[in-house]
Symmetry: C2
Subunit: 89 residues, 2 copies
Amino acid sequence: MEDNVVYIGTKPVMNYVLAVVTQFNAGAKEVCIRARGKTIVRAVDTAEITVRQFLTDVDKKEVSISTEAVETDAGPANVSVIQIVLSRK
Amino acid sequence: MEDNVVYIGTKPVMNYVLAVVTQFNAGAKEVCIRARGKTIVRAVDTAEITVRQFLTDVDKKEVSISTEAVETDAGPANVSVIQIVLSRK
């Protein structure tokens, strides 16, 4: 499971959709999409586009949110995290 | 349940945290936080700040994502939606 994680960054959303699709096509049963802070929106877009347009045999299995402590230039801060698990039906 | 919905917009996150806390303090058993598009991040922040800092007897009951069709100046488009249900323990 931990091998099949796609971390969302600041690239265009289709880059991450492609990464998820590639992992499923390589045989993964589940793929986990993770993002924090402002990239959370892109994680949701990635999951929605993947299951609606590319892999209709894949379901959203679980969506969870949490908080992580990070170090910034201005000192410690909390950042929100989202994890979306997609699973082949 | 439908009465206790907080729609996330573009105001500072603490406005929405206050709205959620107010609904719980008025006796709500559950409060639903909804957001779409770029405000999804703020919905996650609202939920996390509420349960971590203000209402420690409230849990994240369910997080779900979906897609809605919207009309824009450039024609129809899809937008991602998040719904976070908070529930008093």
